[in-house]
Symmetry: C2
Subunit: 332 residues, 2 copies
DNA sequence: ATAATTTTTGCAACCGGTTGCAAAAAAAAC
DNA sequence: GTTTTTTTTGCAACCGGTTGCAAAAATTAT
C-alpha cells in the first residue's frame, strides 16, 4: 500500500542503499543524488518505516512510560509533560498502565517485545523491584518520583521526601500546633514512608509536641476523606500533614462534613501543589513539588542514557517550598 | 544480547520455522516439537520480537492514542480506561499529544512510521479534519467524543451533544428559571457548538424564557472562572449551563468570589460528572456522560475494524442523565 | 503390508530497511 | 594528462522474524 524504499529506488533509478542513505543523517550522499531521491520520495509520499529500520539500527525511539497512577489528577500533568517532552526529542511514549499489576514479569516482557529503548517509571507507589527488574535486563530506566538512596540501583528523579516531611513538621511547629499528625498514602509507597520518617525526625527535636500517624488506603480523595472521618471521630490532632494534595482535599471534605472548619478547628498542609489546590474553593496550603523540572530532568537523563547505557546511576532531587494558602493558621 | 529465534532453533536442534510456529497460534506443530522448542525457549528466556514479526504479518498491535486534552481531569480517567482496555486485548497504546498541533501532517506521518494498526482520536476539541486525514490514509480510526453526523466519515463514539444541550435546557426550564445562559468551551470545539444548538433549540419552545450564550477560551478551571467573572459584572442570568464540569467548577469559584451563592443566587449545571464533581466541597449538579461505555465501545469498534478495515463508519451514541446535586434550585 | 491421506517439518524467499566493503566516479595533487 | 586521494555508489549480507510450498513423517484406510 504505502511506498517502500524499493519503490523509491526504482522510481529514481538508483540503488536502495542510496535511498536509505538520503534518509539517514550523516550518511554519504552527493547533492545530486539526494535531489533525485527526494523528488521520487515526495512523488510517492514515502517516509521510512521506523520499525524495519530499528531491526538493524537497534533503536526504536520508543520509550516505555510506565505508571500506576491514574487517579491522582497531578498525573495528567505528568503525562502531558512527558509526552510533549519526549515528542520534542523525537521519542515516542508507549504507555503502560500497571494499575493492578503486582508482578514486573509481564510488563517487562512486553517492553522487551516492543524493543523499547528505555523505560520511565513514573510512580511513587510502585515498589522499587519494578524498576530494578527493568534495569537487570539492561534496559535504561529512570524512576521518576522514586525513592532516594545514596547509592541507587537505578536513576531516580524527584524530591527528597524525607526533607519534605521535615519541612511540613517545621511548618506546623512554627505555627504553634502542639498536637500534630501525619496522614500518609498507601503504607507500602516509599514516598509515604519517607515523608513520615522526615516528619517524625523533625518532631523528635520538639518533645513538647505530641504526634501520631496513620495511612489512607490510596492517594485519592475518597481514601483521604474516609481516613479523616475516622480520625475526627476519635481524638483528632490540631493539624495534619497529608502526604498528598488529593488526600488533603479529601480530608478537608471530611472536616467540613463534621461541621468543623479549616484552619480554625483543624489545620491541614498537603504536598504537591497541584493546580486545583489553588482553586478558590479549595485553597490548600501545601508543599510545592517542582513537577516540570522533575520531568524535564527525567527526560534529559533518559536521553543521556540512550547514548551511554552504562552510565552510573544517580539521584536527582529537587527542592520543595511551602505555598501558603488558607488551611493552616498564620505564623505568630 | 537477548535470545533470538535462531538461537532457540539451534539449541533445540530444529528449524527456525518450527520455532516460529510454536509461537504463532493456529500454526501446525506437533506436541513433541512444541515441547522441545518451549524447553529451549525457556532456557534462553526467549520471547518473540513483535516488531520484527510485524514486518511480515503487517500487524504491530500498536494503536495510536491521540489527544489534545491534557488539562481536563476527566481525561486521566479516559487514559486509564483506554490503556487498560487496550492492554487487555493485547494492544499497545502509543500516546500522541496534539496539544499545540494544528496540522495533522506530522502526527499522521509519525503514526505511519510506526505502522500503527489504528488510531483512536480522543478529543472533543480537535477539528474533524484530523481524524479524516487519518482515515484518508486507510488507517482505521475511531473518533471518541467526536461529533455525530448522520453519515459520518469516520467512526464516532460519544454522546449526542445536541440532546445533552436540550436536556440541560429542560432541566433549567423545569426548575423555573426565567433567564438562562450557556457558557461554552472553546468556540471551535464541535461539542461546544452542538451543546449550544440543543440548548437553544429546546428553549425556542419557551419564548417566555430569555437566554444568551458565551464561550470560555478553554475547557479549564481558569477559563471558566474568568468568563463567569466577566458575566457576573454585567447582567448575569439566573442559571448557567456550563458545557463542562471543570468549566463549571471555575464558574462556581467566580460566583463565590463575587460574594454570591449557588444555587441561591446563581444556578449552575455542568456536563461530564467527573469524579470531583461529587466531592462534597464542589457538589455540582451535572449531566452524566457515560465514559466507561464510551471508551469500551470505542475499543470494541477499533478491534472490530482491525479485522474488517472497510467497515462502514458508524456513530455510537450513549444516553446521558442528570445527576442532581447542590448547584441548581430544586424542582418545584 | 501397502497405498492413500493427513499432518508435520524444513527450505528458501520475503517483510522494509541498514551497512561493511570494494568498485566507480569525482576531486585534488603532481 | 596522469596519478593519487577522497567521495560516492552499488552489491550483498544481515536485522528477527513469517509463510508458501514441497518433501518427509505419521496416520488411516484397504
Amino acid at each position: 500500500m504505502t511506498a517502500t524504499l524499493k519503490d523509491v529506488a526504482t522510481r529514481a533509478g538508483v540503488s536502495t542503499s542510496a535511498v536509505s542513505r538520503t534518509f539517514t543523517d550523516g550518511a554519504s550522499v552527493s547533492l545530486k543524488m539526494r535531489r533525485k531521491v527526494e523528488k521520487a520520495a515526495a512523488e510517492l509520499g514515502y517516509s521510512p518505516n521506523f520499525l524495519a529500520r530499528s531491526l538493524t539500527t537497534r533503536r526504536t525511539k520508543l520509550i516505555g512510560l510506565v505508571s500506576n497512577n491514574f487517579h491522582n489528577p497531578i498525573f495528567l500533568q505528568v503525562f502531558d509533560l512527558f509526552t510533549r517532552g519526549l515528542q520534542d526529542r523525537g521519542l515516542r511514549p508507549l504507555l503502560v498502565n500497571l494499575s493492578d499489576e503486582v508482578d514486573p514479569e509481564n510488563s517487562l516482557r512486553m517492553l522487551q517485545q516492543y524493543s523499547v529503548d528505555g523505560a520511565i517509571v513514573a510512580s511513587s507507589t510502585l515498589p522499587p523491584v519494578f524498576s530494578k527488574a527493568f534495569r537487570d535486563q539492561k534496559l535504561p530506566v529512570v524512576h521518576t518520583f522514586g525513592r532516594y538512596t545514596s547509592s541507587p540501583d537505578v536513576h531516580v528523579v524527584g524530591i527528597d521526601n524525607v526533607e519534605a516531611g521535615r519541612m511540613a513538621a517545621r511548618e506546623l511547629v512554627q505555627r504553634g500546633y502542639k498536637k500534630v499528625a501525619y496522614l500518609g498514602g498507601p503504607q507500602l509507597a516509599t514516598s509515604a514512608q519517607d515523608r513520615l520518617e522526615g516528619f517524625e525526625n523533625e518532631l523528635s527535636r520538639h518533645p513538647e509536641i505530641t504526634h501520631s500517624h496513620s495511612y489512607a488506603s490510596a492517594y485519592s480523595f475518597e481514601a483521604g476523606r474516609a481516613e479523616m472521618l475516622r480520625l475526627l471521630k476519635e481524638n483528632p490532632a490540631e493539624a495534619y500533614f497529608c502526604a498528598d494534595d488529593v488526600l488533603s482535599i479529601g480530608a478537608l471534605s471530611a472536616v467540613k462534613d463534621m461541621g468543623l472548619r479549616a484552619p480554625e478547628d483543624i489545620g491541614i498542609i498537603g504536598l504537591n501543589d497541584m493546580e486545583m489546590s489553588g482553586w478558590e474553593n479549595i485553597n490548600l496550603t501545601t508543599i510545592h513539588q517542582p513537577i516540570r523540572q522533575i520531568i524535564s530532568s527525567s527526560i534529559e537523563l533518559m536521553v543521556a542514557m540512550l547514548d551511554e547505557p552504562d552510565r552510573y546511576p544517580e539521584a536527582r532531587l529537587f527542592p520543595c517550598r511551602v505555598v501558603e494558602r488558607g488551611t493552616l493558621r498564620p505564623r505568630p
